[in-house]
């Protein structure tokens, strides 16, 4: 770049692999290009995020990238920045009004539904007998719109097979491993015969394994006891499990594409002296499945991390 810029990077949280990877991708790329990065972690509090962005503006940054807590607060924050003539890009979670700011959108619901659609087909294909199948979903924190989007995607996918599935069993996780462990164990005890499991986030796979393993439900594809299983995020663990055959699909947001797109758009705007750049960049996302693993593996950020030895730390 012609000149070094100061970029404020305000994210909502750093608690799962996905966010950590996104955080690393953005900060590292910016720093390597000689820009200064100012980080702000809102700890899942939209109000705090608004305050942090205002502090950034007061500090006189050249541009802002945010991962907002949700679409509604994103609109407010985008307005706040644009009113103060600071270009802003919204990463990963779309504002409910796409007309303002540089917006990189990934549609949680549609990615989830792609992943679940594959699971549904797999489950139907491997069904013995012709009773209805029992699906189960581990739901995230109901206060988190991402969790709700993923849940909606799950239901949308299953709606296409009305005759094949019973009403899904919902298990609350509150995005917390301990809660998920307790609730999933109870749910599996109550309903030992589940045929399909979808977790709203890949970070819960180790928890699922702890519940399934002692019950003989943690098995590879084709082995006795395998439960058709998938998640969403596309992290390194999911990649490993997919390769090992324990799970069947995971919904992927193209993290690196999103980061790249957001960065170049915001830097271009700064360069051009544009204070209110507006642009919508779509990340269609996709489902990495046991079927397309070979050709699309390296499109998934988790697999890239995995190949870099992420899980060996």
């Amino acid at each position: 770049p012609a000149s070094a810029a100061t970029i404020c990077f305000a994210f909502q949280d750093l608690e799962t692999e996905f966010w950590v990877a996104g955080h690393t991708a953005i900060t590292r790329t910016l720093e390597e290009a000689g820009h200064t990065v100012i980080e702000r972690n809102a700890n899942e509090d939209a109000n705090r995020q608004l305050e942090q962005v205002r502090d950034c503006i007061a500090q006189g940054v050249d541009g802002i990238i945010i991962i907002p807590q949700d679409g509604e607060s994103a609109v407010t924050i985008v307005n706040e920045a644009q009113d103060n003539d600071v270009p802003i890009a919204v990463f990963n979670r779309p504002p409910s009004d796409l007309s303002k700011g540089i917006v990189v959108v990934a549609d949680n619901a549609s990615i989830a539904s792609q992943a679940v659609d594959f699971l549904a087909k797999e489950a139907i294909a491997s069904r013995d007998g012709d009773g209805k199948l029992t699906p189960m979903i581990i739901v995230g924190d109901l206060g988190d719109p991402n969790a709700v989007g993923r849940k909606d995607g799950f239901y949308a996918a299953l709606e296409n097979y009305p005759d094949d599935f019973n009403t899904p069993i919902e298990v609350a996780s509150d995005w917390d491993a301990a809660t998920a462990l307790a609730n999933l164990e109870a749910a599996v005890t109550a309903n030992p015969d589940i045929d399909l499991l979808f977790t709203s986030s890949d970070f819960l796979f180790p928890t699922i394994r702890s519940v399934f393993e002692p019950r003989g439900m943690w098995a590879k594809r084709g082995e006795e006891g395998h439960v058709v299983m998938g998640g969403l995020d596309g992290d390194a663990t999911a990649c490993q499990l997919l390769k090992d055959g324990y799970i069947d699909s995971t919904g992927v947001q193209d993290l690196y594409f999103e980061a790249e797109a957001a960065l170049s758009a915001i830097l271009a705007a700064i360069e051009a002296g544009e204070a209110q750049p507006n642009e919508v960049i779509e990340d269609p996302g996709f489902a990495l499945t046991s079927a397309n693993l070979a050709e699309r593996e390296m499109d998934m950020w988790g697999c890239v991390l995995l190949s870099e030895g992420f899980l060996d730390q």
Binding site: N41, N47, R48, A58, D85, S96, L142, G143, V148
Partner: protein, 386 residues
Amino acid sequence: MTDSGPRATVSGRDEFPAAPSVRQRAMRLFLSDYFVLYLSLAYFLVLVPFLPTLSNPANLANILSNMWPLLVVAVGQTFVLTIAGIDLSQGSVVGFTSVIGAMLLATSASPDVLSNAPIWGLIIDEAGGPLANVPGGVLVAIVAMVAAGAMIGAANGLAIAHFRMPPFMVTLVTMIVISAFAIFLTQSENIRNLPESYIQLGKGDIVSVYFGEQAESRIPRRQIHSFITYPMLIAVSVAILAHVLLNSTVFGRQVFAIGTNRRAAEISGIPVRRVIVLVFTISAICATIGALLYSTRLEAGRPTLGDGNFLLDVIGATVIGGTSLFGGKGKIIWTVFGVFFFVLLSNTLNLMNLSSFHIDMVKGAVIVAAALLDVLRTRLIRGEAS
């Protein structure tokens, strides 16, 4: 009370036969009610050379604007702590009442987002809430919010006063139930499209200042700084009202009496139950006003508004101000300073550009350091006295 503070020895006194008045005055400053304020200012002055942005007008305006909503909520908590209670439900009241206000006032709503919610079609639809374009609707909605908040507070108070249930458990349950109910009402969604007059309450300026050249033809927005805002007026009025209530009314005396010794207060004819109910109601109403400020500045009704660490901020700011968790000791100005300290702390942490991997450590250390100074001060007061 045991006399455990260090005593000034006779020889120690003799070394300063007539203490210089400057030192005495400094001492008095250090020992006064305003201690946390001085502490915050000292903290500010120490950091300014390293963080030049800290003193820039835009940042000062930010600090102030961040103070107001937290202050309003903490004022309510001050009442509760003063009667030796605790109100964990404030955060959920913030979320819940923000939803109430928004669902009444929203000027439109999208079925894509809200059609699953139980309030869809019942209260809100594509054309917005029932008070959407009604003249005076904002006022009615605020009354409804306050009524809803007051009811929750009164319910807390009734359970605590009449059934002698522990405040911690009662308000914890209220927190769980009310926050779940708020999320249920919107099925996790936020309600947008609030009317401009409502949003003004959370963002609107009354007086703004500009420090740049006079000749500029177009003043950039980022150089105009809010000076007096609606939230400031609202919060300052609430604080003054609360201060008067706690300090200069019969009710205030009754609050302190209950916090000091509930049994003796009862026997002396203090209407203990009524006061407890009122105190929890006040706390919830303050939370509601906080909800008004928070939700309007975010321009949405949000069921999750008061989630997470919010409660720790509220109680932490109140306690660091000097209000005791064990009752009988509380002042609104203490809370004002406590909130100022907390907001300043969070602002400076932002400006330090710490990596997010360090920020929590620094935050913890600063809180402890502040508390330590406070302990030192208490010891000095005792030392002076004996």
